[in-house]
Symmetry: C2
Subunit: 211 residues, 2 copies
Amino acid sequence: MQGRGANRRTGGRSARVRAAVHQAVTELLSEEGVEGVTVAEVAARSGVHPTSLYRRWGTVEALVLDVAVSRVSAQSPIPDTGSLRNDLFSYASQAAADVGRPDGLAFLRAVLTAADSANSTAADNASHATTASGAATDSADPRLPFLAARGAQLQTMLDRAAERGEPPLDYTDVLDGILAPIYLRLLFGIGGVDDAYLTRLVDHLLTVPVC
Amino acid sequence: MQGRGANRRTGGRSARVRAAVHQAVTELLSEEGVEGVTVAEVAARSGVHPTSLYRRWGTVEALVLDVAVSRVSAQSPIPDTGSLRNDLFSYASQAAADVGRPDGLAFLRAVLTAADSANSTAADNASHATTASGAATDSADPRLPFLAARGAQLQTMLDRAAERGEPPLDYTDVLDGILAPIYLRLLFGIGGVDDAYLTRLVDHLLTVPVC
């Protein structure tokens, strides 16, 4: 009985810690950009001890990625409209909206920077490694779980379409033909990302058979 | 006469200062990433006084972009093979090679981060603005000259093809269809950027008529 109570408290506490930490990361990112997200700042703002942050997430990069995954999954569930074209358009609209939010670009830049930081930390600066255990930084790209989880969700959407007899696509085709141009235009501030543009990207992807 | 001599000396000194500063930025970027490129570090490494750096470049972001433009222009001249398809393949290969160099990703990330830093500095943190004169950061994206110069070069290549009777393209089509997927794959560490892949991107861009 004491065990059950302790477990329940631990579960509740764990969820509260996660929520507080995610909130702190989101605020720091949107206020100060990637450079503002340090273990010290996250600890101060969330009230969670730095040791707990290291134990649970290992690195600042892993923490930012965890927040980014939760955010995308909550805000942009993978579409299931019954039509590949509509699914792709919906996916494209969500991606543009995600990055178009006030802190959207900061999140995208944080994800794009995460592997670089981890690699340069491991390669050039091992004595300053920010991990509690060194294992995680050895050479694995910390974004692989993020990409794998989201890629698998996207592939499920594409496989549903193929089963309906629509053109089979690999999720990397969607990265190349839809996600990449949207991200590049928003990251470079080129603009022109409206519904007509997204429709054109989807049509272009669906017109040419994929080898 | 004294004027001519002074001008000549200024020109030579100016070129030497630029070379030393560019060298310092390149080294700092590849060694420490974007965060390592500060006015203080560039000044220390190049032997150029911080005041001179502010006077000439205004911001660290503008300095990094100046180095990035020089680098791309020197290493990757716009192709002119006589065939649009070959021009595009050559352009794609150069872009992949640029980012594939040891400090290539660091440069790309620096360019992608530059506008964000400038904007958040201007918006949230005006008192910490890093410009000598405030004018430059008001709202202009510091990367616009970089993009405009490179975009104009690319458009010249595409216009030559259109004059030969090949399909007319806008340079933004090349950003969407070729540069964006290459950058995304390299930034995310997805891989698969080989000649067969680049050929597929070029073929896909040329297959569908552009609206």
